[in-house]
Symmetry: C2
Subunit: 647 residues, 2 copies
């Protein structure tokens, strides 16, 4: 095999590669950090590079126009180096940092009657030990253990070697007055011994501050809350994009990326970096003197979907996406921060909350708890539509759950002008029924750059109601407006002409986009139907709909019903709860009973695997219309359409 | 402060140091590895270097002769750099590697009726798991746990994160047939869960080989036995000097060295290196195809004195040598090899057996078990005189113990011509009563270089019985031989003239040496007396004397009694048991009941701190004579002396 030289314009040194090397591998070798939202599958078109000299072989040119190809663009993940080349790296889509604005921060109420000494696991015990003398030469550890037994009633304490290495000095530094900080365990496993996390010299600070962190690893966004365990208050909230995003937008892309050489380790490092940065940021927000350090945080609970948890733990998620879709572990034993690589106190406990299945993870069990689904008498539909769509139907008596492979269309991925809900995203839109002219609202009040999830739902509903598209999603070509036109990819509707957009490009929605969105909403609605069927009740028996996740926070219920994404129930039955996952992680920190309940939720939830359910396909096909094949399921939409026809 | 240049003749690059730097620090900086048997206290004189250019300030010149000083010699640990100097590094005393000759290897009998399935903790379970399918998507870990519960009756298995990271692939590689290797725990702590050590794909090898190691960390010598847990057989025995020796010959010197900057970590690395090398060597001796690797060893038990255990664990031994002499921990919780840094299987259990006090460690509790002291009806005196002298008196009913700060005189340290029991050491000696000419036996049948412990005991006895010294250890100056003469350090006896020695120097024993030896034997005998006193029995009620440790193996009981080192009992009451410590570690590997017994031994042994015992000083002073002030305690010696006078 011959060596070729690949020279990137953004780095100094060229790299030498063998014939047949992927351009993306050469880029990695050269230290060029490419965004690969689809995980390198050649689906998203975001890793395009421009070949300025030499030739390459393109395995796929999907998402590249004729013009792109003429200019030498090639998808790095689908292009093979076959000679010496020079490559120009276009400016990549920047992954913006989420700010903790009112969009993510929430007012959290401490549970009523919260008692730090009774409810949570991290406890501090002041001890006065008898100093050793020639008539009592007991070893330090036995002396401390005896103190814990006699003064705090605690038997059989576990301790790690690194802490044992320090206790001799700490005991003497405190002149045999010390404060022992222990993790007392979950409270139900009587057979697990309490564990010493830290020993502090002296015992002036009683109780010393006891800090903990609730962490939600979302596919798109990672959220960290810092909790004062004494008061139970959330003292800081931070969120940031998951740094894994550049390696794939959805879980499937991440799993594919993890399967590549070094991919899994890379993803693990990225998510740990994300969390550790958030911990730093969050600690800095807390006003204390001296400043709070992440190493003072004594415990963390972690929630996330099963793929996120596997990746964070360094466990291969490979089998999650392969039939029969199994995880390696749903109920992770308690770990120490040191084992995991989390920058809190090295002996701090890390409690990964339990998941149910490959696509129903700890974010859902925690969400069910914090939404109170497991504790209500009302028939409740709980959904957490983020990058994935998980649904739970149930009450105090029963719980069924499923995951809809809706894809990330409602997060703006797989849609030509789609983008995340950041500055420049159209988040709501109206179309004038008479002239089909749109009016829209843009996040950050700037020129628009694209359209995010809530905007897409509104757009789909408006296009349907104004007749831009019909119930099958086909464009109405008897056009009253030049905004409906034939583009490179078939019919499209122009939301904003290039003159008014931030980058000079037209913002459009194409037939393909509409198709993707309809399929996504159909998958979710079919999920509702299958769950309701599985317990033999009609969907309109649902007494409340609780919507968690960032997705749910800004959508317009009316419009979501109009496209058939949400079931047609009175609007007052819908509640948006924000990030129910991190809130569940917070409750699990504060309350061992709540923690225990999450275990029970995980055990009693019946998981329905849609891909193995023979009623799902029919339900999905029926839902591939706007709002649905069976209009009687959407009486409010039916009557709106009838009124419109009458008018 | 000024910088000076220090140039060592054995290394290429000079080093720059500040005024006031110790020469030993400069040597370390330059990478010159010095022997410091006394730990850098300026006591042993072994770190002498020759200053060939420039001047230094000598804080102490102990052990250097006028001639040495004229030639520019200086003790590296006691000499301060005050200008640019050039240093010549003399060839250091080499620490020879012990070979596993008949001197250390022993025939070990497997305990009668040994049953690997019942007696020891490491168990292999073959499992056939149901493969997952779309109707059973249970996660891998639950599937494995269920298999263990249903097919092996094992509940609540603990597992580490690194092993969890691998199980998904192992299960599939074995096509859902696997062999789980577990540590079932000590058997008594019902509340500690079994722990998964390894999961192997397939289940052809039933039982698979289960390997373990028994490790004795001696101050001087480290011993490793490799044990086949299925048969119970010791398949390899290796021993080697503890690499810490160059940092101090005895525990006190090591503790002092540990207190220096980086000293503790250095000592930890040295002992782990020693053990890991021994594990490599031992595995290579075992004939198997494929070759046995240390990483296949699943468990290790470790014994050693408390200082050795602290150093191996990275715990400061500082307080062991400071009043009131406390350890940080006597009963170390089970560790994994990964935590400790031992190169066996990373998840392998490391069980450090329990010690009793600062100077009565796990080597003694294990020795008591393997010698059967805790299980005999006979009043038994057990001693393990290695670098330290620990004594146990007792039986099935009671056990008392103490540690004599005998010092390492009987290991050849602190004696001018003393050396360890290696090639060139005089190991036995006779003095002709008529002309006081000596005859001796040398290890390896070469020209002698010095005299080792057993030789020193014989020499002392012979000098006493032939009148070279009197009962107070004073030299008889009415000399019948030129071998008794005045040397640099007062009176001395020439054992071998330079013409016949290997290095051309006279081999002598000086008055100071005799004093050291008498003090050492007095400390040990006083220990016996105090123990017997403490339980109110005379020493001659002792029904058997069991002697463990390498020291005991070659000494002549008659001569040891003659100098008053051992109590005057009939010779058939003495038994030499070799390395009782490692044998105890071996028994603890094989038998959970034996392991439990060692815990009981550690708990029920009454430790008597000699330095706080007001009868010890008197007992010691009385024993500072040969054989003792009170000759009636040594009737056999008394009669020998009487016979001699009559003749």
């Amino acid at each position: 095999m011959t060596d070729h030289t690949v020279t990137f314009d953004t780095v100094h040194e060229p790299v030498a590669v063998k014939t047949g090397t992927l351009l993306s591998e050469a880029a990695q070798l050269a230290g060029v950090d490419l965004n690969q939202p689809c995980g390198g599958q050649g689906r998203c078109g975001r890793c395009a590079l421009q070949i300025t000299e030499g030739s390459v072989r393109r395995r796929s040119t999907i998402r590249l126009s004729e013009e792109d190809l003429d200019q030498g663009f090639a998808l790095a993940c689908q292009t093979v180096v076959e000679g010496d080349i020079r490559v120009s790296v276009p400016e990549q889509e920047k992954i913006e940092r989420l700010l903790t604005t009112d969009r993510t921060a929430a007012e959290i109420t401490v549970p009523k009657g919260y008692d730090s000494n009774l409810d949570q696991a991290i406890q501090a015990y002041p001890l006065t030990l008898t100093p050793p003398d020639m008539s009592d030469q007991t070893d330090d550890w036995s002396r401390l253990s005896t103190g814990l037994r006699q003064q705090a009633g605690i038997e059989e304490v576990q301790v790690s070697l690194p802490l044992l290495q320090r206790i001799g000095n700490i005991l003497r530094e405190g002149n045999w007055d010390v404060t022992a900080i222990l993790d007392m365990g979950s409270g139900d496993n009587q057979d697990v011994h309490p564990r010493l996390i830290e020993l502090l010299p002296g015992k002036e600070l009683i109780p010393p501050p006891l800090w903990a962190a609730a962490i939600d690893i979302g596919t798109t966004t990672v959220t960290v809350w810092i909790v004062d365990l004494i008061t139970g208050k959330v003292e800081a909230q931070t969120a940031q994009y998951n740094k894994q995003i550049s390696r794939g937008e959805d879980v499937v892309s991440r799993i594919i990326f993890a399967g590549k050489d070094g991919g899994q380790e890379n993803l693990r490092n990225l998510v740990l970096e994300t969390i550790n940065e958030l911990l730093e940021t969050a600690c800095k927000r807390i006003k204390s003197d001296p400043a709070l350090l992440p190493s003072q945080i004594l415990k963390a609970t972690i929630v996330g979907n099963s793929t996120m948890i596997h990746l964070a733990l360094g466990i291969s998620p490979e089998h999650i996406r392969m039939m029969p879709f199994t995880t390696t572990i749903n109920q992770v034993p308690p770990l120490t921060a040191h084992e995991l690589g989390l920058n809190i106190h090295p002996e701090g406990t890390v409690d990964c909350l339990p998941g149910v299945a490959s696509y129903v993870g700890a974010d859902i069990t925690a969400g069910v708890l914090s939404a109170g689904v497991d504790d209500t008498e009302q028939v409740t539909l709980f959904m957490d539509v983020g990058t994935n769509g998980e649904i739970v139907l149930g009450s105090r008596e029963w719980l069924v759950t499923c995951a809809c492979s809706a894809g990330p269309a409602f997060e703006g991925a797989g849609v030509a002008s789609g983008m995340r809900a950041t500055k420049g995203a159209i988040e709501d839109i109206w179309i004038n029924d008479a002239n089909l002219e749109p009016t829209f609202r843009v996040i950050g009040k700037v020129k628009p750059r694209g359209i995010c999830g809530s905007g897409l739902i509104a757009l789909l509903a408006e296009m349907f109601l104004t007749g831009v598209i019909d119930k099958a999603g086909n464009f109405n070509d008897s056009s009253k407006t030049p905004r409906i036109r034939q583009g490179d990819h078939g019919w499209e509707y122009v939301i904003c002409y290039g003159d008014d957009s931030s980058d000079g490009n037209d913002i459009v929605i194409t037939h393909v986009d509409v198709d993707n969105l309809v399929r996504a909403k159909a998958a979710i609605y079919a999920g509702f139907s299958v769950l309701a069927n599985s317990v033999g009740i009609p969907l309109d028996w649902v007494e409340q709909v609780l919507i968690g996740g960032s997705f749910g926070k800004y959508i317009n219920v009316e419009k979501a019903i109009e496209i058939g994404l949400l079931p047609d129930l009175p609007w007052d039955k819908f509640q948006f709860l924000g990030n129910t996952a991190v809130r569940g992680a917070y409750l699990a920190l504060l309350d061992r009973q709540a923690r225990q309940k999450i275990n029970e939720i995980a055990s009693r939830m019946t998981y329905i695997e849609l891909s193995a359910d023979n009623t799902f396909y029919d339900a999905f096909m029926s839902a591939l219309f706007l709002p649905h094949t069976d209009l009687s399921r959407f009486p409010s939409v039916e009557s709106a359409l009838t009124n419109k026809e009458i008018n």
